[in-house]
Assembly symmetry: C2
Homo-oligomer: 341 residues x 2
Amino acid sequence: MRIILDGMGGDNAPAETVKGAVEAVKLIDDEITIVGKPELIEEELRKNGYYGDRIAIEPASDVITMEDSPVKAIRRKQDSSMVVGLNMVKEGRGDVFVSAGNTGALVVGSRMILGRIRGIDRPALASVYPDISGGHPGLLVDAGASSESKAGNLVEYALMGSIFTEKVWGIENPRIGLVNLGTEEGKGTSVTKDAFQRLKASHLNFVGNIEGRDVPAGVCDVIVCDGFTGNVILKLTEGVAMGVFKQVKNTIMAGLKNKIAALILKKDLYALKDSFDYEEYGGAPVLGVNGPVIKMHGSSTAKAVKSAIIKAVPYAREDVVGIIRQELLKIEECDESDYSI
Amino acid sequence: MRIILDGMGGDNAPAETVKGAVEAVKLIDDEITIVGKPELIEEELRKNGYYGDRIAIEPASDVITMEDSPVKAIRRKQDSSMVVGLNMVKEGRGDVFVSAGNTGALVVGSRMILGRIRGIDRPALASVYPDISGGHPGLLVDAGASSESKAGNLVEYALMGSIFTEKVWGIENPRIGLVNLGTEEGKGTSVTKDAFQRLKASHLNFVGNIEGRDVPAGVCDVIVCDGFTGNVILKLTEGVAMGVFKQVKNTIMAGLKNKIAALILKKDLYALKDSFDYEEYGGAPVLGVNGPVIKMHGSSTAKAVKSAIIKAVPYAREDVVGIIRQELLKIEECDESDYSI
């Protein structure tokens, strides 16, 4: 496998990106190509003491910034690290593209350069939902690729999320939950009501509607919602978890007696805080396009880059994209019967 | 002022409801009428040692349960505590109605019995968003009265929330935030984009789009969103906060050394947990109907009932409903000019 890494995208590129690649290459048998300005990337490789031959450089003179308008940037910045990297995957010169760059541009670029999988109306961004209650993390789809969704889009998200969590995470028969304002059938908007019926009739392991309070409780493996709701869920979870931690810290640090207790607990509480950390989770796949693409958090550190590269390997090797393609072909063939996903 | 209390609605009625009324009446100068089955309510009053004359009973033979379908229940259960109580407010026999009963039925009943305020397309349920980061609580509108909203509805929610937080909470020039998937102007769905422009052009103190992570950070006094998003926000906040606490507790209780520290911190940490508690916040107003109505949490205890009754007094006394009505009339009169809310 050859992993194509966007060397210039994200807040901490190229320093943290290259450092993450150097750390990752020690742990995998695969090769990495870093796309970007060669002199900058070479300098970072040297800084990290890397002189091996399993990290290559592909030159790209331009960068898509966080402020760039996605569609314009993909069209005009043809020699940007993102466009060059996506083209490498398209041309078969790489097996998976990993980037911490502009999210909108990565989704648009994946769709424009790699193309949508036949049968998929809208590609989605899947994000790892952190493990809050001590269960296990879930995959949230859509995390914000689209702001509005039709019922059919939600069903596509469920199907793609089910295949991804089964093949990449190794979860047997993944449980699919639909975010809604009540658990009862018949609750919600016209879109969620319609999606509920379609998911119920599908071959997926649909566990029904889930409410906001169920999302962090680990009741399902794939959390399905429109991109607006998904974006709010991810950011609100971060805000509430950090808010509660801040308050716990303030409580613990109030008064000498508490401070002594805090000293005892400090290490364990910090370990807990880390367990909510996105850096361990290895990035979010862009699902529904003809090639594996992984989006990392814009402020990814070397640790996050390393995790994303390691998790990218099974994504490419298990041919998740190919399986999604086949599943959709099956559905197309069966469309005249009463089979429905 | 006479507060009309639904004696039968909610999981802990009538026991906790009556107990809350007995505790509240000691702290206010106003009178309370409890609506419900007289023999049950009298028994609870006696249990709580109340023999005064500031709590009256209004008989109602029926109860709307949590499982009842809202519209059907309001139409058919004419002698339910909820319908009788709402009619008392309509007829001027009471100044505010407070209920822990079926939320959908209370919203539908308020609209059907009291009627919408002229100029309001959709009444909303406003809910107190707990103080997570140590700032102060906010008012979230809509908390789930409607599952879908148009831009005009969001502007109405903002206007009503602004008046409520100013008059009942005493916040000068309340800050209005619009929940969206990014802070920049131009982000979001067609509905939030349109609402953004209308709010920007209004006389309200609109602070712009807020993201999920800003919601618990106290950046605004009124959190405006559609009812689907509002429902997810409230329940997710509860789920994440409780999940983090559970994990903190597990961490603290792991090992003898930690347990000693835990003993020291226990009291303060429980006090913190209580600060996230809905019971202190005094219920959520149904806004946009011709009369003050307060919804309490379905599982309200006596403490929550007491808070709701105490907070209901300024809601009625400040004539928030009348002020909303006047503001909308002003807008109607100015509609031919370029004045817009």
